[in-house]
Amino acid sequence: MSRTYAVAAVAAVVLATVLVGGFGLRISRTTSDFYVASRTVRPRLNAAAISGEYLSAASFLGIAGLVLVHGPDMLWYPVGYTAGYLVLLVFVAAPLRRSGAYTLPDFAEGRLESRQVRRLVSVFVVAAGWLYLVPQLQGAGLTLKILTGAPGWLGDVLVASVVVLAVAAGGMRSITFVQVFQYWLKLTALLVPAIFLALAWHDDGRPRVTFDEQLSVFRADHPLYATYGLIVATFLGTMGLPHVVVRFYTSPNGRDARRTTVAVLALIGVFYLLPPVYGALGRLYAPELIHGGDGDAAVLLLPGRLLDGLGGDLLGALIAGGAFAAFLSTASGLTMAVAGVITQDVLPSRGVRHFRLATLLAMCVPLACSLMVSRVPVADSVGMAFAVSASSFCPLLVLGIWWRRLTPPGAIAGLLLGGGSAFLSVAITVSGAVRPPGWPHALLAWPAVWSVPVGFLAMVLVSLATPGRIPSGTNAAMTRFHLPEALTSGRHR
């Protein structure tokens, strides 16, 4: 029976997403409510939307799976995913908003006044977006397989087509409301079952969870290095994620962008308390996953293991719905961002039809990859997208915002050396050319430790070597980035 409930829950989530996306705005307003209609997105609402978009398959399924298999060391994942916003808050949020840029290529062009840098950044945005999309699709495939026994590719194709149809048809017009809805759905879908599972565990006599057994084949070599790699990638990579950056545009000013980030920290902080609970319980009740099983499945399997009958089925369905919300929201946000960049910088002419074509393009490549490439744990492959973002966009944003002497050649060198090397190592890891264990594998699987410094160094050194190429508008841009809007606009209100 549980299969029916799960399918119904997934269908309901998909339907609700499309409906909220398409009709969230159709409520007409007359002029008397103009102030309601024209009110900008408040920081809290925007924060819920950012969180909804950000909490992906990696957060929903991956972390619990990693904690289950590898033990409490993996708690660095939720810490890193959250702390990235702290760095974003301190160094980037407000100036990025004040720059007026919608995407990272916009920022690069506005700051460095160079079409070349813009094009290069676009390439990296598309690459990072694709890297991030692949695990979302694979997670969907896995979820559907566990829930219904459907073939592994079905979930990938399902999520990909729902997202492409919804985005291309303009169904995501009220994307903020969709993402807010998805955030609360995801939180509920993990929180409610977690409470029931905890109660069931309590009734079971509160058995102790132990992580004595060290089973990790994958990262037994150099665990400390891997942890640092993860920390660097997630702390510095969040600021460059394409779907996160575009959401800051919605804030009316730099101050609100900061407030939004603070609220995001709170919202995802609360969320990340939950996955470790599943990981720990999974260690007790789904121990077969440790040995060769798929750790990512833990969250989905647990309700059925602890609770019998209708209750277990319903909670399982709720989790399945939440998981699909995770795939859909992150995938649609990423697809929008990548498709936007493709329309602007890759396809020759502009227009609505080109945006649709770009959407298709933005999804086709990751779909093909997700079907062909061997499965890496979801949280790991997301970590790779973070590594690429940390070694390319982080130097660009941080130096672009805080250093006057950045030049276009410097930016290009940093992007190519830092981001390029990170991307290459990630690609080699995913293709499976270097087998574990050993230093080569560790260095390639967690490149951020060395590629981020390489990116920063290349940018700084080449910029210093080309002082003649400092863009003429640097001072104006810096003023705009760092002064509150009320001062620069000269508005009297």
Partner: protein, 409 residues
């Protein structure tokens, strides 16, 4: 597939890419391969090619940046050891050897800057090994004003070089004249925008004040509110700073405008707004939606005159004018749609207006908005208008969320 297999595949792909790039480079420059033309023709092609490469930077005018970027090409055009470009005060760029001459150059060309005639002089260099013994300086003149000089250095006196330098300088002058032309064209456009953007119809001011006056006795509180709206609206419209604003501010001003219009027409005007909050921060040219709304109001109400004593009543059998303003998020763009159910317009006539042939009074607002949008965002972003006689009018504006240089203030 095994790891080794993947590695081989990646290598193969890289090799193919490299081969493709090489092939592309070879085929893209047939002039370099020696299959066609005589040596003289080749030399001509080479010269023309170099000249065409030097031209684009010069189109930005005579600045340090443009001089730096064109100097190398100009020097290879002349085939000299060193080339120097100056403006009236200082050396802009020194290309080639012997940069120490740069210190004296300005003294040596003083006479030329005053007279505007070609000059040749000996470089009087203290360094005996220095090969640059002789130079020819040619003025760069635009509209009979000497903007700067071009100086070519050589080991000895050379009539050929003097002649060549003169020709090259004349060619540079043409480019600089074009730059000047570009600049005046931009200035013209800017002036046009400045003139056009402050065009709030005087009728609107009379009518608003008259409508407010009608409330002063009957409903003083409303009259006061309307006056404040009017003050706010005019302050926004007449503001002097910044060419750009945000969608939120523009919509706010439109709201005030509509409040004033409704004071006059009351129930006969129904307005619906659908605004996606995501697009409110979008920057756009100042006052580029208000004329469209004004146009919609005018068309919507066209042909019906309100009864003088009873401004709010809907005449029997007449549907109220409905205006819908909506703004959607469309990926990297925002889409604003302004729709009315008024009399509409003959598409042919509209086409005339948008071509600027519609006469003085009609549709100047539409034309102005269309031109400004095209200037700021490019021709892809003009107004899209759907209309027909008696069929109302729907105007769609697409605004990119980011465009270099466009910052809402």
């Amino acid at each position: 597939m095994t790891g080794a297999g993947y590695a081989v595949l990646v290598l193969l792909a890289l090799l193919l890419l490299g081969a493709g790039v090489l092939l592309g480079r070879r085929t893209a420059r047939p002039l370099r391969t020696s299959d066609i033309g005589t040596p003289v023709e080749h030399a001509t092609f080479e010269t023309l090619h170099t000249a065409s490469l030097a031209a684009p930077p010069l189109r930005a005018g005579l600045t340090e940046e443009s001089a730096r970027r064109s100097a190398r090409r100009l020097r290879s055009l002349l085939g000299t050891d060193a080339l120097c470009l100056t403006d009236r005060e200082r050396v802009l760029v020194w290309d080639g050897e012997g940069e120490h001459h740069g210190r004296h150059v300005m003294d040596q060309v003083q006479g030329l800057l005053a007279s505007g005639r070609d000059t040749a002089f000996h470089s009087d260099c203290d360094d005996l090994d220095c090969p640059l013994r002789w130079a020819v300086a040619v003025p760069l003149t635009v509209d009979n004003r000497v903007l700067g000089t071009l100086i070519a250095y050589a080991p000895r006196e050379s009539a050929v070089l003097a002649r060549a330098a003169g020709e090259v300088a004349r060619w540079v002058c043409v480019q600089l004249e074009l730059a000047e032309l570009d600049r005046s064209r931009t200035q013209l456009i800017e002036a046009e925008i400045r003139v056009l953007r402050a065009q709030i119809s005087p009728h609107f001011i009379f009518n608003s004040l008259a409508a407010i006056a009608s409330f002063v006795r009957t409903d003083p509180e409303r009259a006061r509110e309307l006056l404040l709206e009017f003050a706010d609206f005019t302050r926004y419209s007449f503001r002097s700073h910044g060419d750009f604003t945000t969608l939120a501010d523009e919509l706010h001003s439109i709201d005030q405008y509509l409040a004033l219009v409704r004071a006059r027409f009351g129930e006969r005007l129904a307005v619906t707004l659908q605004i996606a909050p995501e697009v409110l921060p979008v920057a756009l040219p100042f006052l580029c939606l208000q004329p469209l709304v004004e146009n919609a109001v005018k068309h919507g109400l066209e042909g019906t005159v309100p009864a003088p004593r009873d401004p709010g009543a809907v005449p029997a059998g007449e549907t109220p004018t409905r205006i819908t303003i909506s703004a959607f998020d469309a990926g990297s763009e925002a889409e604003v749609v302004i729709e009315d159910n008024g009399t509409g317009m003959d598409p042919e006539r509209l086409r005339h207006i948008l071509r600027g042939e519609g006469g003085h009074s009609t549709g100047i607002g539409l034309l102005n908005v269309d031109e400004r949008l095209r200037q700021v965002y490019g021709d892809d972003y003009g107004l899209v208008i759907e209309t027909g006689i008696g069929a109302g009018m729907k105007i769609t504006v697409r605004l990119p969320k980011y465009r270099a240089g466009v910052h809402g203030s």
